[in-house]
């Protein structure tokens, strides 16, 4: 049984259809990635999984239950964490508060403040700085740490490496591997293949609101040219 299954989902922005008949599934504890160029519908799909975009047609099955109509906060409480593309750090909260707020209604589990600070020592140094004073990399760590503190079963990461210096990217990749090793499933969204090829076992290619291709990473490597052509990467 999959941890999460999106079945034949249509999503609209106003009148414009952003996702067409999209189906994906995430197994417990695996890392998969969703690849597509800007505006292809990646973020839309993540938001739809998190309940932030209403699903016009199709189903969301989570933990074996139909969760199509379940509200965002309930999904959050039952183990889906969302790390958005623009990080969405709470600007007026300091780093420590940005983390603690996730523990208020989050699940109990292995992740606590100390472990997050261990994972990202840089955050500990800046624990009393306001969110809007952080650098891009710090913001990204904070966003991931905040997601982790709800003790998720599934972590949705929207372009976590975007705009980060190469060294920070390395750090993050290591952190993701570590997190995954603890049994947290990760759905990783990226524009390019760099990180996904390193981490994910399975890949979905999305373009113009349609899933164009899906398969194992090895298959992707084998037919890279052709598949990239499919989605005009």
């Amino acid at each position: 049984m999959s941890l999460l299954e999106m079945q034949n989902c249509d999503v609209f922005y106003g009148k414009a259809q952003a996702l067409h008949d999209v189906s994906i599934n995430v197994e417990e504890g695996e890392i998969i990635s969703l690849i597509g160029r800007n505006g292809a519908g990646k973020s839309t799909l993540l938001k739809a999984i998190m309940g932030l975009n209403p699903i016009a047609a199709g189903k969301r099955i989570y933990d074996g239950q139909d969760a199509t109509k379940v509200a965002t906060e309930k999904l959050g409480r039952s183990g889906i964490a969302y790390v958005p593309e623009d990080r969405r750090i709470f600007a007026t909260l300091d780093v420590d508060e940005n983390l603690r707020i996730a523990t208020v209604m989050g699940r109990n589990g292995a992740w606590n403040l100390d472990r997050v600070y261990d994972l990202f020592p840089r955050l500990k140094e800046r624990m009393n700085s306001r969110g809007d004073t952080l650098s891009g990399g710090e913001q990204q760590m904070l966003a991931v740490g905040r997601g982790l503190l709800t003790n998720p079963k599934l972590l949705l990461l929207d372009e976590p490496t975007e705009g980060l210096a190469p060294l920070v990217v390395e750090d993050l990749i290591n952190a993701m591997a570590l997190i995954n090793a603890e049994g947290v499933a990760i759905l990783l969204v990226e524009q390019n293949l760099k990180v996904p090829l390193k981490l994910a076992k399975r890949q979905y290619m999305i373009d113009n609101g349609h899933i164009r291709w899906s398969g194992k990473t090895e298959e992707l490597l084998a037919e890279r040219e052709k598949i990239e052509g499919l989605i005009s990467l």
């Binding site: 965002t72 709470f90 208020v104």
Partner: protein, 285 residues
């Protein structure tokens, strides 16, 4: 010297009147025109409770609680359906509530003026700096300071404050963390309504309790909230004290110019620093 004490008491009273308004705006981005009506409701409720129990303190506690329930109902029934519409609609709905609450008060308590007295403990006057300062004024200063400290603590230190601050910036993200933001909204509106009523209960012994009383204070509250920076509690305290002092000095030297001065201060703020005189730099509220 006594002018300073009086100015402080005026300022603290203004803060008590305005605190709920700025809190609600900070979280919900709703300008609650019915704030004055809730304040009036608070005064009447306090009067009623004092009448039944004979205790000022009982009124001071009960009035905000009842008004908070009224506020919660307002938010649930009327405001919730219109959050995703233009701000105008929320503002206008609260406008409608002025009429409804005023009418309810008229039906329940009639048109006659009601009165409340300071509690036994603070009923006299104290000689200070060559003036006799009513001790209830000193109570207001202390109480206002306590309420503002409490609000600071709640907003800056407690987990509720943390949630409120986060949710006022990015409610959607807060929801993904499992927090029920619509409940937070109801809570904040209800709390703000309670604060308005608390202001009314505290003001009861100073003013006649009458139907028009809410109408008068709403503009005062706007002035405090705007000068302090919309949604900024710290700013509201400072603005209230600034205006209290301005008024106290104004009444000493040029009473007929007092309203004028306050408005010039207000308009100057709106034009030169619309984010408020006391907003911290870089704050994106």
């Amino acid at each position: 010297m006594s002018t300073i004490v009086i100015g402080l008491s005026m300022g603290m009273l203004l803060f008590l009147l305005a605190a709920g308004l700025t809190l609600i705006f900070g979280m919900l981005r709703v300008i609650n025109f019915a704030h004055g009506s809730l304040y009036m409701l608070g005064a009447y409720l306090a009067f009623q409770v004092v009448n039944i129990t004979g205790s000022f303190w009982a009124g001071l506690i009960a009035a905000p609680i009842i008004a908070a329930i009224v506020g919660a109902l307002m938010e649930r029934i009327a405001l919730r359906p219109v959050y995703n519409r233009d701000h105008v609609y929320q503002l206008l709905l609260t406008f409608g509530f002025i009429l409804v609450i005023d009418e309810a008060v008229r039906i329940i308590w009639g048109l006659e003026y009601k009165q409340m007295y300071p509690p036994e403990l603070f009923s006299g006057a104290i000689e200070m700096f060559g003036s006799s300062v009513p001790s209830y004024r000193l109570f207001i200063i202390g109480f206002g300071a306590a309420v503002s400290a409490g609000l600071f603590f709640m907003l800056d230190r407690s987990r509720y404050g943390m949630i409120i601050r986060a949710a006022s910036g990015d409610p959607e993200m807060v929801r993904t963390l499992g927090i029920n933001v619509s409940l937070v909204r109801t809570g904040v509106f209800s709390f703000g309504a309670g604060l308005a009523a608390l202001g009314g209960a505290v003001a009861g012994p100073l003013f006649p309790i009458e139907l028009g009383m809410g109408f008068n204070i709403i503009i005062d509250s706007f002035i405090v909230v705007i000068i302090g920076g919309l949604g900024n509690i710290r700013g509201a305290v400072l603005a209230a004290l600034l205006i209290g002092m301005t008024r106290a000095l104004g009444y000493s030297y040029a009473p007929s110019w007092v309203d004028f001065l306050t408005f010039i201060l207000l308009i100057g703020t709106l034009i030169l620093r619309p984010e408020g005189l006391f907003s911290r730099k870089g704050r994106t509220a």
